[in-house]
Each structure stands twice: as C-alpha cells, then as structure tokens.
C-alpha cells in the first residue's frame, strides 16, 4: 500500500514536472490574447487598477531613464502600475530564452532590435492604431527601426541608434602630456594612427601601459571590420541575404589595415588590450587608453562608474576608414521595447511603449538619461540633445550613412564568437588574414544550417 502511494506520488511528480518544464506546444495568436484581455478581468491588478511588469537588462543609466518615464506614465494613468524588473546582461538573455517559450515573460520587454527576428514568433505585433510599419519608418532612422520589422511586421519601437562604429573617447590630459594639438584634427585614419602612435606609453620592460588607439574590443573590432568592407565597396551579405560573404578582397583589405595598425603603427597591443584584458570601457577611465573606440552609450556608463576619474576627456568621431569613401557603416537595431503576446493588457503595454519610444519629449528625456544616440532624427537634431550630449551633433553627419546590420540566425554568435575571435587571433599573430577570413566565412555561414 505504502509503496503504491510512493509510486503514484513519484509518477505524479514526474508528470507535473515534465508538463511544467516543457514549452507550450501551440502558440496562441496575439490577436486572440488581445481579445481575451478585453473581456477578462485584469490579473494581478490592484483594486480597479492594472499592474504591468517590465523587464530590462541592468544598466544604471538606462534603468534610471525608464524609472522616470514609468513614474510619469503612472502619474498620467493613476490606474496603471508598472514594475521594472532588471537582470544582468547574461542572465537577461537566458531569462528571455527560457521564459518566453514558457509564456512567463513580462508584459513589456526591453529588446535589442537585432534580436527581434529570433523572438518574433513570441512577440505581439504592434497594432496599427499604435503605429504602422510606414509610420515607424518615417519616424525613426533606418538602422534602429530595421531590426524591429520582421517580414513586414512591426514588433517593437527602438529607443537608440546603437552605433558601435566610429565613436571614440579621447583623453585630453594624455593628449596634452604628449604635446599633441587638442581637439584632434583628423582628416584621415592615418592622422588618427599618427596621434595614437605618439600617445602610446610603455614601461621599462617594453610592456604597453597606455594604448594609443584601443580598437581591439569586440564591438569596435567587429563593426570596423564590417564598415571597412562596405567602404571598400563590398558587402558581407550575399545578394538575397541568405548567406555571408566574408572571404572577399574588401574584407581582406580591411583586416590587413587592422593588422598594420597593430604591427606597423603599434598603436595597441592586442594581447594586453582586448575584451577580456583592459576592456576599453574600463581601461579608458583608468587612464590606460588615450583613444578608446566604443559606442556613445559608454559615456553615461563611464560617468556613473567612474565619478572620480580625474582626466579631461571628450567624445569624437573618426574619419572614414577608407580615404575618399563615404562613412558607410552598419549598426545594430539597438535597444527598444516590445510587448508580450501573453500580456493581458497589451493595449496598455503598447500605449506605454509608444509613450516612451515615440513621444519626442519622452524619447529625448530617456536618451539624455541613458546617454544614447536618439533613434528619432527630430530628437537627435534638437537643441536639448546638443546641449546635454555635445557629441551627438558631431554624429549627425554620419548617421544617415548607417545601415541595419541585417537579421542573422544568431547575431551574438556571429559577432562575438566568430567574427571577433578570428580578428583578434589575426591581430595577436596566431592566425593569418587568409585563415581568419576563411574561418569567419565558413563558421558564419554554418549558423544558417
């Protein structure tokens, strides 16, 4: 008898656990969920109110910007309560990947636009009364909105122009110590390398202690590589965007330029300055990098993390990698907001998303708080942005040359585990340019299988 009870209990536990752990086998269309939301009583709402959850990755500047807008929205809509829940970056990705199949994600989801194609089946399409695809394309820059449109459907609204190409932190104090004119007068990349060469510092054993031009972290190395391909007149996508073309003369010319910056100009030691060692966003604010190649998002983060950094510094944009070329570049779609199809209050969630991302005043407020380049041209060109973020007007000349990176099966895998490691290997001297290009081409194309 007891054994039977034990056995039954055990079997029940296994069955319940298997059902609980498994993903839902059928997807409920977003429209049906929305319809249900209209009739069903609000779940988890306070008395007569609506409670929404919002997920975002942990970034003090970003999260402060969200919190301010949540409070503004709640003031305007006293019946709505929005709880912001944040996760560190790696945990956030894992949480999205496990919670979304189980239908347990928050109502409002902060999403990196380039990831949208991976999650599109589990996101609520934007209702037409919120915004149509055409309206979104008119409102936002092409690169940021590009990622949120999958197969002609709009799945979210961008908040930033995630520009990893071209922007550099420049340490004025180190410039003055080296006797170089400041602000830098760069016409070509050779001017940048010449300054950087003069800014390098080494110790008595020859070990580099200050990098002149740190471009060897994952984002700058990868996005310079992609920009270089475009500026040389090539492309890393095949004609119908079903595969990559990395083993090309344009890619070779770009990678060879990077190798020459390391080996001939000696502006950075890629063994000592890379993603794992002396990451640019940290090393710059510890006076170990003179010119640090990184997106403008690092400015707010640096100010928050290094409030006592004594050196004077500013943010500038590099000339085109290829002399005489337009500053063509590619950009991720950047951070934005999307809505869960499982939310019982999709209408309210979309209203909040529009309030944050499409309202010009609110978008401006968030961009200033987070230190990010606006996704809306009207915001980027505003006087308030110019006053709060003087580097943004400098970016305005090149922003129109930005193209969306393109929807990849796994963007992080391609950029961070394939393109970047092989570039770094080449710069560190453990792979030749040809070996690296062959490997990038083969491995990146294998991600489509």
């Amino acid at each position: 008898m007891d054994r039977k009870v034990l056995l039954i209990g055990f079997v029940l536990l296994l069955v319940v656990s298997l059902v609980a752990c498994g993903p839902s086998a059928t997807e409920t269309p977003a429209t049906e969920e929305a319809g249900a939301a209209e009739t069903a009583p609000p779940e988890g709402a306070g008395p007569g109110g609506i409670s929404l959850r919002m997920w975002a990755h942990q970034n003090p500047a970003f999260n402060a910007g969200y919190q301010a807008l949540i409070e503004a929205y709640q003031s305007a809509h006293p019946d709505v309560t929005i709880a912001l829940e944040t996760f560190d970056y790696d945990t956030y990705i894992q949480t999205l990947q496990t919670a979304m199949p189980a239908g347990e994600e928050a109502d409002i989801i902060q999403l990196f636009g380039t990831w949208t194609s991976e999650y599109a089946g589990r996101l609520a399409p934007a209702p037409e009364d919120v915004m149509t695809v055409e309206e979104a394309q008119d409102l936002f820059y092409a690169a940021p909105i590009g990622g949120f449109i999958v197969d002609g459907v709009l799945y979210g609204l961008p908040q930033e122009f995630n520009m990893e190409y071209g922007g550099v932190l420049v340490n004025k104090t180190l410039y003055e110590q080296a006797g170089l004119p400041y602000p830098p007068q760069w016409e070509t990349m050779e001017d940048v390398l010449r300054d950087a060469q003069a800014l390098v510092q080494t110790d008595e054993t020859g070990m580099m202690t200050v990098a002149g031009f740190h471009f060897t972290a994952s984002d700058p190395a990868s996005f310079s590589f992609l920009a270089g391909i475009l500026q040389h007149g090539g492309d890393y996508w095949n004609a119908d965007h079903t595969g990559f073309t990395f083993n090309t003369p344009e890619a070779r010319a770009t990678l060879e330029w990077m190798v020459s910056a390391v080996e001939e100009w000696g502006v950075v030691d890629p063994v000592l300055f890379n993603d794992e060692e002396n990451w640019v966003g940290q090393a710059f604010f510890e006076s170990r990098v003179a010119i640090g190649y990184i997106g403008a998002w690092a400015i707010a983060e640096g100010r928050a993390n290094y409030p006592d950094f004594p050196d004077e510094w500013d943010y500038f944009y590099l000339p085109p990698m290829v002399e005489g070329s337009d500053p063509l570049f590619v950009a991720d779609s950047g951070w934005g907001l999307a809505v869960s199809p499982n939310s019982q209050h999709q209408d309210v969630a979309w209203d909040f998303v529009k309030f944050v991302a499409a309202n010009v005043d609110n978008a401006r407020q968030w961009n200033i708080a987070s230190g990010t380049i606006p996704a809306i041209p009207e915001v980027a060109e505003s006087d308030e942005i110019a006053a709060a973020m003087p580097w943004v007007p400098r970016a305005l000349e090149i922003l129109p040359y930005g193209r969306y990176l393109g929807s990849m099966p796994d963007r992080d895998l391609v950029i961070y585990e394939i393109v970047y490691p092989h570039i770094l290997n080449t710069l560190q001297g453990v792979e030749t340019v040809d070996e690296a290009l062959e490997a990038i081409d083969a491995e990146a194309n294998a991600t489509f299988e």
Partner: protein
C-alpha cells in the same frame, strides 16, 4: 500449479505499520526533491541528446520534441567525433583541455598534499591545528573570489606576479591573455588556471590525508624503524602503501572535481585566450545557456559522464586493495 512450499516468501521487515508510515513520511520529501532536481533532469538530458532541441523553438506537441526540434539520433555524437563544424571542433578542443587539466591537476595535487600532510602530521600540538586550518581556508573560499584574486595576481601590468618578475629583472608576460606562450606544450594560461585551482582545492585532500595518516598504526612504522629503515624509506615503503585506500578516494574525487571545473575558468579567462582554457563544462554551459543548443549540450554532458566513469573505473581497478588494517 505451483507447490505452496515454492512460493516466494515475502520478507518481513519487522516494522510495524506506524513505523513504516514514519519512514515513508520522513523520506518522501527527500525522494521528491531528488526526483525533481536530480532524476528528472537526468532523464530529460538523456532524451534531449537525441534531438536538435532549443527551448526557443515551439517544437512538437510532446514536451516540444519533434517538429522544429527534430530527432537526430546519434548525429550529435558523430559530429563530436568527425564533424568539422565550429561547435564540433570546440567540443574536441574542450575535451582535450579538460583531459590536460585533470591529468595535470591530479599528480600536482598529490605531489603537494601528500608530503605536506606528512609534514603537518609530524608537527605536535596546536601548531598542527593551525596549519590545517590555514591550508584548508582557500577550500572554503568562494571560487569566484579566488578567481578574481588570482586575476589580480596575474594582471600583466599591475599584477603581483609580474611585479616580482620585474623586480628580479625578468620579462613580464600576459599570463591569462597571450595565446602564443606555452610551457611543456601547454598554454601558459591553462597552467595559470591550474595553479589557481590547485591553490583553492588542495586543502580538501590535505585534511583527508592527515586523517588517514593518523589512522595508520604506529606499530608498522616502529617495526620498520627497528629494522633500520630511514624516515624516507618508512614514508615510501610503509606509509604510502598503507594509504592506498585513501589514495583511491582522493584520486577519484580530485579527478571528478577537475572534470567539472567551470566557475574559476569562467571568471578568470572565459575559455580564452583563443579557447586554450575552454573546458568541457564551459562548452556545455555555453551551448545550453548562451546558444540554447540543449540537445548538443545534453550529448556533451553524456560524453563527460562516460569519460569520468571510465577513468573512475580505471582508477578503482588500479588502486583497489583487498586488505584492511
């Protein structure tokens, strides 16, 4: 028709009904816990290794298996052996690194802990307790903390190790980030991680050896001394052979924990430089939780289990004893 006397006799446990209910009551929560958090994941992993499964895909009607998460049979294992894809090559690199790591850690650990245990055992009084506590302290320290501390020691520009090297006129190196430096054909970064791991881990074995040394009857050693054996001969000919059961336990446990190394490597190098410290559990973790390739990760876990099992069986056959004292 079965003869009544041949019917199997049900053994009476000798417990009353209330005793059996009590046993059931106190063991049931533990059984449930083990079933939910040990048995179920094992069963699930055994099933997943035959599928190209990603939780991000909806898949078939039964637990998401099938459909977009297709059945692939033994394809993952075939790829691990002969595949040329990135993940197949990384798997083989991680298996090789794990074997190098484990087979370097074990002898180094024994070479440090056994003589040290004998030395500490020879010390009298409170000093023995103090030594034991000092050497055991790293073992109870957080792995992440240990990894960060050693990261500072190995820092190429500001680290303690390079400061000492500079002081004696040597050339500092990038211990954890230079893929070009090797020692005995093994990456310096892997050696650096092994050193940090040994520092943290050797306290366990030290305590076990000290306890085992205390259990060896003094008569054996005294008899050898009377026969004219030197202290070294006593240690090598008497103490070490009598420690064989303990050696077996220590070897098996050290090998097991070495194959499972993860946290210290993830924090110190994240598998770099150029995958030279990329070990099997890190590979499994990356595939499962970064890239959501749960089927591949489950197959990798199975291979890890088989490898560890084979090595454990080999160790048990090599070091087993049929005597006690």
């Amino acid at each position: 028709m079965r003869h009544p006397t041949l019917r199997p006799v049900r053994r009476n446990s000798g417990r009353t009904a209330s005793q059996r209910r009590f046993v059931l009551g106190v063991t049931f929560p533990t059984i449930l816990y083990a079933a939910a958090f040990s048995l179920l994941p094992i069963v699930w992993a055994l099933a997943l290794m035959f599928f190209e499964y990603s939780p991000g895909r909806a898949g078939g009607a039964i637990l998401g298996l099938g459909g977009d998460n297709p059945f692939v049979g033994l394809e993952h294992f075939r790829n691990m052996v002969v595949g040329m894809s990135r993940e197949a090559r990384l798997f083989r690199v991680s298996l090789r690194n794990t074997l190098v790591f484990a087979f370097a850690v074990l002898p180094l650990n024994l070479a440090i802990t056994l003589p040290l245990a004998a030395l500490i055992e020879s010390v009298r009084g409170r000093l023995k307790t103090a030594f034991r506590a000092i050497y055991f302290l790293p073992a109870v320290t957080s792995s992440v903390g240990v990894a960060m501390m050693w990261g500072f020691i190995y820092d190429p520009q500001k680290g303690l190790l390079n400061a000492v090297i500079r002081l004696i006129g040597g050339t500092p190196i990038a211990w954890l980030s230079d893929p070009r430096t090797k020692f005995l054909g093994i990456s310096v970064a892997l050696w650096a991680v092994i050193a940090a791991y040994l520092w943290q881990d050797f306290g366990y074995n030290l305590v076990i050896f000290i306890a085992a040394l205390q259990g060896i009857p003094h008569e054996f050693k005294e008899a050898a001394m009377v026969d004219g054996a030197s202290p070294l001969q006593v240690f090598l000919k008497i103490t070490v052979p009598l420690l064989r059961p303990t050696l077996l336990f220590v070897c098996v446990m050290t090998m097991l924990s070495s194959f499972q190394v993860f946290d210290i490597i993830q924090v110190m190098t994240d598998g770099g430089p150029n995958y030279q410290t990329h070990v099997l559990v890190l590979d499994i973790y990356n595939n499962a939780f970064r890239y959501q390739r749960m089927g591949w990760a489950a197959a990798g876990s199975f291979v890890l289990t088989v490898v560890v099992m084979l090595i454990t069986i080999f160790q048990m056959r090599l070091l087993r004893t049929e005597w006690e004292y």
